[in-house]
Every structure is written in C-alpha cells, then in structure tokens.
C-alpha cells in the first residue's frame, strides 16, 4: 500500500516536472500573452469574483461591506416583485430577440448572398447600418412619440384611426421594444454569416447540382448549413450577448422606470440598484443571477447546435448513398 502510494506520488512529481519543462520551453508564448492575461484577469475574472462575493453582503460604498448571507438572494427571489417582473420581461425579450434576431441575421445574410456583387455590398451596408449607428435608435422615439411629433400617430390619424400612447401604454411597449431591438440585431453575427457564405467553396454547389439537388432550399439544408456551422456558433454567442443585455432601448424609448415596469429588464433593475440606489450587494446578486442565466443559455444553445450539425451530416451521407444507388440502377 505504502509502496503504491510512493509510486503514485513519484509519478505525480514526474508529471509536474514534465509540465514545468514544457512550460519553460514555451516561455516566450507566456510572455506574449501576459499583457492580455493580466488585463483579462484584473478587469474580467476578478470583477466576476468580486461580484460573487459582494452578492452575499450589504454594501453601500460608504460603509465597508457587511456579510448577510443569502439575504440578498432571498429578498430578490421572494420579496422583490419588480425583479420578478423584470425577470419575466428579460425572459420574453431574450426568448424573442435572441432566436428571432439570430434567424433574421442568417436569413438576410443568405438572401443577400444571392445578389450580384455590387448590389451585395450596398445591401450589407443597409442591413448592418442600424447596428453600428450607435444612439441613432433614438429616432424611434420621434417616430413613436405620443405628442404632435409622432410619425406613426400622424399615419393613424390620416387613415382614420385613434392615435395611441405607443410608448407609455403597456399594451404596446413590449412590442415596440422588440421591434426596435430586432431592427438593431443584425450586428457582428450577421457580418460573420455574410463572410462565411461568401467563403463556401462554389464547387460543392456544382457537385450537389450534379448529384441531384433541385432548389435553393435543398442547397441551404444540405450544403450551406453544414458548411456554416462554425459561424453559426459564433453568431449564437453574439446573439446571447445581445439578447440578455437589452436595457438601452427600453430606457431610451419608455424611460426608466417604465409604465407598470412593462419593459423593465434585469439589466435595468441592476442599473437602478447599482447606480441610483447604491445598494451594491443587492445589485451584485442581480448580476450573479444574470451571469448564471447567460452561462446556462450558452450551454443549452451549444448543445442544440451540436445536435443540428450531427443530424445534418448524417443526412448528407444518406443523400450521397441514395444518389449512388440511383446511379447503379
């Protein structure tokens, strides 16, 4: 027994020595990446850790943090009605803006790819422009304004309908926040899709044509999508980031707090407690929950994307086999 243990430890030590030698061999690699790692640790990893620790305390910046255990989480989940509303709204926004924005990015990138070259360049600018135009989405608050400046209401009056309080009536607010968010959702992921579609080898399509693919939808399903999988993963990550960070648009359109908290999101709630009420412990608890939700969502999406890719591969193989059978006959 003692012998085996000694052997085990000797092996461990040897492994460590080998690892250390290896690391020494790659010394210059570590030097190259050190500046980034340092910044990354201090301004990305450390903040996440601090946020986690602070979420168990009462901290208002003036007094030192005081440990209060799970109180923040208990209050957040059981006593804070506004948080429950915010969580519901975030769930709705993320559930619609994430997948729909992702799908739209891909569909438009795919349609644009059908255009001739110069038209394509123009179309990419047209579709990508809202995402990079910064605060230009404020123009929607003019379009939807409920006073005499509102475009939509002028149209409503012109066609003989009752003008509405688009941005302060909870019946319409969610809808317009989603519309404006989708308007801005063709961002980095969209660019990756456009670039990825251009990079697919043309000869694959020609081969598929010979193999009996009949229309553009079959092309999309059997060739384009399997080829695009790496881009689809990248696009999914940016889509998740976009879907959970909804807060600027509802704030700009409907104000903070909005009527009946109809478009209050977890991030707006976080900003409210973090930069207005200075309850940093409570705000950190909100951040931690948001953080967990993002990680969970990421894992879920990756699992789904993995399965989609595999299924398609099988189908392509099946298709090829069928074609071969056809040839033999």
């Amino acid at each position: 027994m003692g012998n085996t243990l000694a052997l085990y430890f000797r092996k461990k030590k040897r492994d460590r020595q080998i690892a250390w030698k290896k690391m020494k061999m790659y010394k210059s690699c570590y030097l190259f990446i050190a500046p980034f790692l340092l910044c990354f640790l201090v301004f990305m990893i450390l903040p996440i850790a601090i946020s986690l620790v602070l979420s168990f305390t009462y901290y208002n910046i003036l007094e030192p943090p005081r440990f209060i255990g799970l109180t923040n989480y208990v209050n957040l989940l059981l006593a804070d009605d506004v948080f429950i509303t915010a969580a519901k709204n975030t769930f709705v926004f993320a559930g619609i803006i994430g997948p729909v924005g992702y799908l739209l990015s891909f569909v438009f990138a795919w349609l644009i790819n059908e255009l001739p070259r110069y038209l394509r360049a123009i179309a990419v600018v047209v579709f990508y422009a809202p995402a990079i135009s910064g605060a230009a989405f404020n123009v929607w608050s003019i379009i939807l304004a409920s006073d005499s400046n509102g475009f939509l209401n002028s149209i409503m009056i012109a066609i003989g309908q009752e003008p509405q309080l688009w941005l302060s009536n909870p019946k319409y607010m969610t809808m317009f926040v989603i519309i404006v968010s989708l308007w801005m959702s063709l961002g980095t992921g969209f660019l990756a899709f456009v670039a990825g579609l251009q990079g697919i080898d043309r000869s694959q399509y020609e081969a598929a044509y010979v193999d009996g693919i009949k229309n553009r939808f079959q092309e999309l399903w059997y060739i384009t999508l399997p080829n695009m999988k790496p881009m689809l993963v990248f696009g999914a990550i940016t889509a998740i980031a976009g879907a959970f960070n909804v807060s600027d648009i509802p704030e700009a359109l409907c104000g903070n707090p909005s009527t009946d908290y109809a478009v209050h999101t977890v991030v707006t709630h976080l900003k409210d407690y973090g930069s207005v009420r200075f309850e940093m412990g409570y705000a950190s608890a909100i951040a931690t929950i948001l953080f967990l939700a993002m990680i969970l969502c990421n894992k879920l999406v990756m699992a789904i994307l993995n399965r989609v890719g595999r299924k398609k591969k099988r189908q392509t193989i099946l298709l090829r086999a069928e074609n071969r059978k056809g040839e033999k006959r």
């Binding site: 290896k22 690391m23 790659y26 690699c29 190259f32 990446i33 500046p35 980034f36 910044c39 990354f40 301004f43 990305m44 990893i45 450390l46 996440i48 601090i50 946020s51 602070l54 644009i112 059908e114 600018v125 047209v126 579709f127 809202p130 990079i132 135009s133 605060a135 230009a136 989405f137 404020n138 123009v139 003019i142 379009i143 400046n149 002028s154 009056i157 308007w183 660019l191 456009v194 670039a195 990825g196 251009q198 229309n215 553009r216 079959q218 790496p230 881009m231 993963v233 990248f234 990550i237 940016t238 998740i240 980031a241 807060s247 900003k271 973090g274 940093m280 950190s284 951040a287 993002m294």
Partner: protein, 286 residues
C-alpha cells in the same frame, strides 16, 4: 431570353429570385428609413421640425442646425477642441493598446499549443458574451481602488480586457501558413522578429477590423462613469448636453444624431471588404 437563362446559376428559379428581391427591398426599407429620417431631420429648419403632421422629406434643407451646434459648443467654457481631443485620445490609445495586446496574445494562441492555451481560448470565447453591465459595478470598484477615477487611464485600460479583438486576431492568424514561420526561424529570426516582421504585415485586414470594432465601441461612449472633470469629458458627452437642451435646441439635437451616426457607418463603408475577409475566419470549431 435564352442567353439569360443559360447564364443563370443552377438551382435558381425566376420566381424565387423575384421573391428574394421583394423581401430584401421591403426589409431594407424598414432598416434604412429610420436612418434616412435622422439625415433628413438634421437638415430641417425649425419650422419643419415642429410641423404637424410630421413629414419625412425635408423641403428647405439648411445647414443652420450644424451652425447652431458649433455655436453652442463654442459657448461652453471648455473649448470644443478639448472635447474632441479627449475623445480622439481615448479612442486612439485604447484601440492601439488593444490591437497590440490582442495580436500578441492571438499570435501565440493561434500558432503554439502551449500548456493552458486551450483553456485560455475557451475562457475568451465564454467572455465574448459578457460585454456590458454584468461586471460594471466591480470594475468601477477596481478602478476606484487603483485611483484611476478622473484620469484617462480609467476608460482606456479596462478596455484592454475586451475579448473580441484577440478572438478575431487568433482566428485570422490561424490562416498564416506554418511554413512561412518555420522558414523565418531557420533564417535565424527571433520570436519577436517573426511577430513584427512576418505575422503583423500579413494580418492587415484583421487589424482594420479590430480598429473599426473598437472605434465603434469607443467613439459613441460618453465615458461619464469615470470622468468627472469638465476638461476630461468626451465629445459624445458634450453633444448629449447640447441635445438635452429642450425644444429650442431641437435642431442642434438632430444635427448631433447625424454627426454621431455618420462616423461609424462611414468607416464601415470604406473598409467593408477587409472586415468581411476577417469575419470569414470568425467561426468557432467545437
């Protein structure tokens, strides 16, 4: 007619093509019309901005809004050029720093399989999701502890931690053939020499893309969380102050929107092909 059909790609029907154009024109109009309204508003004289019902097209275009905007900026006790300098300085310093740090890290992640490289990369990919507010409070506390509040360091250094730059660099650098690097090594080049003389000149499209992505993130950011002295404040902050002046400044506010919007869109138009070349490598394989 026959000729057209012969020149068409396989697997494309006429009806389908017409459908593609119709969908793209309708959706494109939805995307671009609000932005055109920003442009048209910026040139509207006051009476047209206040008109009821509002009209989309400007009838008597004027540059008065821009003149007003610079007039208001000229009145502030910190000169306009100072705001512009602050924004330019923060944008340039943060962009250059991130570019250098990101390409150094991206290079070794792409070309060497050193212990821990896989873990570091998967952390970077996960962190791509966390831009924004999730960590804003602790980052602020760290900046306070470092005594960086109200200095240029506060908006610049934390920006170096953003991961999109290093991610795109790494993906793009994987396309550089290993034989090129080995040849340089045989010729006696040191690691740093290979990086500066061979790798960097070969990834120009990726530089441009990283520059544009960070300019987009920085240009419109008022940075009001960290900068409190008036002489350190940025152009977007000054512009938003002008725009917040109520009805009398509605014209100037419309001009502000156009100024803030036109820079990132203009930069994108000029560098589109480079950006697309970089994004073609952005895919994540397992």
């Amino acid at each position: 007619m026959k000729k057209i059909i012969r020149h068409r790609q396989p697997n494309r029907s006429f009806g389908g093509d017409i459908g593609v154009y119709i969908i793209l024109i309708i959706a494109g109009a939805f995307m671009i019309l609000p932005l055109l309204l920003v442009v048209s508003n910026a040139f509207k004289p006051m009476d047209e901005l206040m008109k009821f019902p509002q009209e989309f097209i400007v009838h008597h275009p004027t540059l008065k809004n821009f003149a007003d905007l610079f007039g208001f900026l000229g009145q502030s006790w910190v000169p306009f050029s100072r705001y512009l300098f602050n924004t330019l300085f923060i944008t340039v310093a943060a962009t250059v720093g991130q570019l250098i740090i990101g390409s150094m890290g991206g290079y070794v992640l792409a070309k060497y399989d050193f212990p821990g490289s896989k873990k570091i990369f998967s952390l970077i990919v996960t962190a791509l999701m966390f831009n924004g507010y999730v960590i804003s409070i602790p980052v602020y506390l760290i900046v306070v502890k470092l005594n960086w509040v109200d200095t240029y360091l506060a908006p610049i250094i934390p920006f170096f931690a953003s991961t999109l730059g290093i991610f795109l660099m790494k993906q793009f650098m994987e396309g550089i053939p290993d034989s090129l690097l080995e040849a340089a090594k045989i010729d006696g080049a040191k690691e740093w020499g290979i990086f500066t003389k061979i790798v960097m000149p070969n990834v120009k499209p990726a530089w441009l893309t990283c520059i544009i992505m960070s300019v987009q993130a920085l240009w419109g950011n008022p940075q009001s969380t960290y900068l409190y002295s008036e002489e350190l404040k940025t152009l977007p902050y000054a512009l938003s102050q002008v725009a917040a002046g109520g009805i009398a400044r509605r014209g100037a506010a419309a001009a502000v929107q156009l100024v803030m919007m036109i820079v990132p869109i203009g930069v994108f138009i000029f560098s589109q092909s480079n950006i697309l070349e970089t994004m073609a490598n952005s895919g994540i394989k397992d």
